[in-house]
């Protein structure tokens, strides 16, 4: 009995952990490349979920089928947000940058309230529904799909950053703006690409999440908070770090909730984070 409960707790923890990791990817990437903490991250996730919802409600598109669409639109949104808003505060003090992204989040939330009202939304008739059962263990099928998707997306992004020329350019910009510019890299363009990729990855997360999670203007607040802890735990700017940290957070949340007390599950998550910050302030895999 306890064996089954333990396995179940570990597996559902890992599922959610992978999803947390994917949500944190965009945040860690934007920070890694340009040192800007995007406080609107959770709200961008909310926007992505509404895009998936709209595609489902009006174009009868399954959220899984809509992944390229959502990711593409979020990529464009990232470029636009960078070009017309973030670029203006690049040289400003970080307080100004925080205020801008924070305000952007509030604006998006208010917009969602205005357009979609405060109703809870839900995609209709998704392809993947129900659950997967084996040896007494039950996992939600859409959660499983989301977790697998999250792992694939993380791997893809990691490959892109480490193996392609654009990825190398991004790394170069992240390491030293001036040096990169001297080598003929258009820094401004790659900042835009970082925002596009960051929000694009978030778009994938939003579509995978919309497949089974309720959609609401304030849904971003819940995941945004966890994304920050994930990034800080894994190390700002580190993709592998975000993956490991996401999985740790999912596991701790699940195990503490099942075996200690559901009321304290987030207390344990944040305690682990505090512990890491004390021992290793740059995060598990941080370089700065």
């Amino acid at each position: 009995m306890t064996g089954v409960v333990l396995t179940q707790a570990i597996l559902s923890g890992l599922l959610w952990g992978a999803i947390f990791a994917l949500i944190a990817l965009g945040l860690t990437m934007i920070f890694g490349v340009m040192d800007i903490v995007n406080f609107a991250h959770g709200d961008f996730l909310m926007v992505a979920m509404y895009v998936a919802y709209t595609a489902n409600a009006y174009l009868r598109m399954d959220p899984l089928l809509a992944i390229p669409l959502v990711a593409g639109l979020m990529y464009l949104l990232g470029i636009v947000v960078y070009r017309y808003i973030i670029k203006r505060v690049l040289e400003a003090p970080s307080v100004a940058q925080i205020t801008v992204t924070f305000g952007l989040g509030i604006a998006f939330r208010a917009l969602a309230h205005f357009v979609f009202s405060a109703d809870y939304r839900q995609v209709q008739h998704p392809w993947v529904e129900g659950r997967v059962q084996f040896a007494g263990i039950v996992l939600g099928a859409p959660e499983l799909v989301a977790a697998v998707g999250a792992l694939l997306m993380t791997a893809l992004l990691y490959w892109f950053i480490t193996k392609t020329e654009t990825g190398w350019a991004l790394q170069a910009v992240a390491q030293n703006k001036q040096a990169a510019a001297l080598m003929g890299i258009n820094v401004d363009r790659f900042f835009g690409v970082a925002w596009g990729l960051g929000l694009g990855a978030l778009g994938v997360a939003g579509a995978l999440l919309a497949n089974f999670y309720y959609i609401h203007p304030d849904v971003g607040a819940i995941f945004g908070g966890i994304a920050f802890v994930t990034v800080a735990l894994g190390g700002f700017g580190s993709i592998q770090g975000a993956l490991v940290a996401g999985l740790i957070i999912g596991l701790v949340e699940s195990l503490a909730g099942v075996f200690i007390s559901p009321q304290l599950k987030y207390a344990f998550v944040f305690s682990i984070y505090l512990l890491v910050v004390f021992i290793r302030p740059k995060g598990l895999m941080g370089t700065t």
Partner: protein
């Protein structure tokens, strides 16, 4: 320059808006008040203090509409209605004196409630007070009524402490929050008596960790012990959690027959989805109103909301067993363009109870009316609400009131308890997820 003009415009716009709201709030009820008939020998005035404007104004409108309809039933003639007051034309024992209501607005502010209560008693010479919906305001009105020795009938505030102050002039017809949880156990007991359940069912509780959820949990735990029910798991969870998988796993591990929940909108949805996702199959899920009767609940969950059981105070499907509810709802709809709901129906009932007491007192002396209220003994057939009757204990709390229990059946809330007013039969045990289509 431009900005200044804009600011001026906004200021003007806002003040006009405020003025309109203020006028609307004040004038509306006066309009609804039946004009005292010139030929009537005399009239009796009662005061009704409700949130006509401010944050609770939506409820305030329902409440005053309920009172207005009650006045019409008392003063006019509605022989088609099966209510004792419908056959009256004014207060019979006072020479058919017309009952008059003076509305006052407390704006959900206890201080305003207090001063309005004083004004109604000293200036308007009302013989009794009704109100005030927001528990905090009701708590401010009650001491004023007590000081002036004028009866205060409360039909719509559910904070349990209101009847614990030792007031002699305070009477509450509605059940309070504590008794809603009690109703759940009465419902379980009734199921046991009917042979539907054995009485040995294990109960798991999952309640949000805020004040409301934990108050519900406290009552649920205390009453379980008293009634011999076995609580095997108590979960206090954060209503802001991203997922409730761990919570649901704990419930699953204990394999309870019943799950009792106090949840807001999003967490109610997360829990039901997780129950389905992890194939947790309790035989009954009871929710304490709120998230489970949210207008979004059935809409969002669709078929997965089926069979959920929740407590409620009012349902218009009760008309099938209690025709007066359907008749009044039709009348109410034609007059106000809205359905009777928990607020309007309870306010209407409150005014009818006051009229009944004034009639039996045969006097406009507040002390005589207080004595008559204390002796109130109305049966299920004399009242509008789906209760066993109205009879006050020494604290002034109606002991025969009860919430109702509804179950989601075919995408709508259906009253399933108390059995004598139920519109549908409880589906028990609820089908396992794998057996649902």
């Amino acid at each position: 320059m431009n900005q200044k003009r804009l600011a001026k415009f906004v200021a003007l716009f806002l003040s006009v808006g405020l003025l309109v709201t203020a006028c609307g709030g004040g004038a509306k009820p006066a309009e609804n008040t039946p004009a005292p008939a010139a030929a009537a020998p005399k009239e009796v005035a009662i005061g009704a203090i409700y949130p006509l404007s401010g944050p609770s104004a939506v409820a305030g409108k329902d409440l005053t509409n309920g009172v207005t309809l009650a006045m019409e039933i008392i003063n006019g003639q509605h022989p088609e209605l099966d209510l004792p007051q419908a056959k009256w034309k004014g207060i019979p024992n006072l020479g058919n004196a017309q009952l008059k209501v003076v509305f006052a607005d407390h704006q959900a502010d206890p201080n305003k409630g207090k001063s309005e209560a004083e004004r109604l008693i000293t200036q308007e010479k009302v013989v009794a007070l009704q109100g005030g919906y927001n528990s905090a305001v009701t708590a401010a009105i009650a001491p004023v009524a007590e000081r002036y020795e004028v009866p205060h009938l409360n039909a719509d505030s559910t904070s349990p402490s209101l009847t614990e102050q030792g007031f002699k002039y305070f009477f509450r017809t509605t059940p309070h929050d504590g008794s809603f949880v009690e109703n759940a156990y009465q419902f379980f007991d009734d199921l046991k008596k009917a042979g539907t359940i054995k009485g040995t069912e294990k109960i798991a509780m999952a309640m949000e960790d805020g004040l409301w959820g934990q108050d519900t949990a406290k009552s649920a735990k205390a009453l379980a012990g008293k009634n011999g029910w076995n609580i095997v798991e108590e979960i206090a969870y954060s209503s802001k959690a991203a997922n409730v998988d761990a919570e649901v796993q704990r419930i699953k591990a204990k394999n309870p027959e019943f799950v009792m929940m106090a949840s807001y909108g999003p967490d109610a949805i997360l829990f039901l989805k997780a129950f389905k996702g992890m194939d947790v199959n309790p035989k009954l899920i009871w929710g304490n109103d709120s998230g489970f009767v949210d207008t979004q609940f059935i809409k969002t969950l669709g078929k997965d909301a089926e069979y959920l059981v929740s407590r409620e105070v009012w349902a218009n499907d009760l008309a099938a067993k209690k025709p007066i509810i359907g008749q009044l709802n039709t009348l109410f709809k034609s007059k106000f363009g809205a359905e009777l709901n928990g607020s309007s129906a309870r306010a209407l009932q409150g005014t009818l109870v006051l009229a009944d007491a004034i009639n039996r007192a045969k006097s406009t002396d507040p002390k005589a009316i207080q004595a008559a209220l204390k002796a109130t003994n109305l049966g299920a057939g004399d009242i509008v609400m789906p209760w066993k009757g109205i009879k006050f204990d020494e604290k002034g709390q109606n002991t025969l009131g009860a919430g109702i229990i509804v179950q989601v059946q075919n995408g709508a809330y259906t009253t399933v308890w108390p059995f004598d007013v139920a519109a549908g039969k409880l589906v028990y045990p609820i089908p396992a997820w794998k057996d649902r289509k």
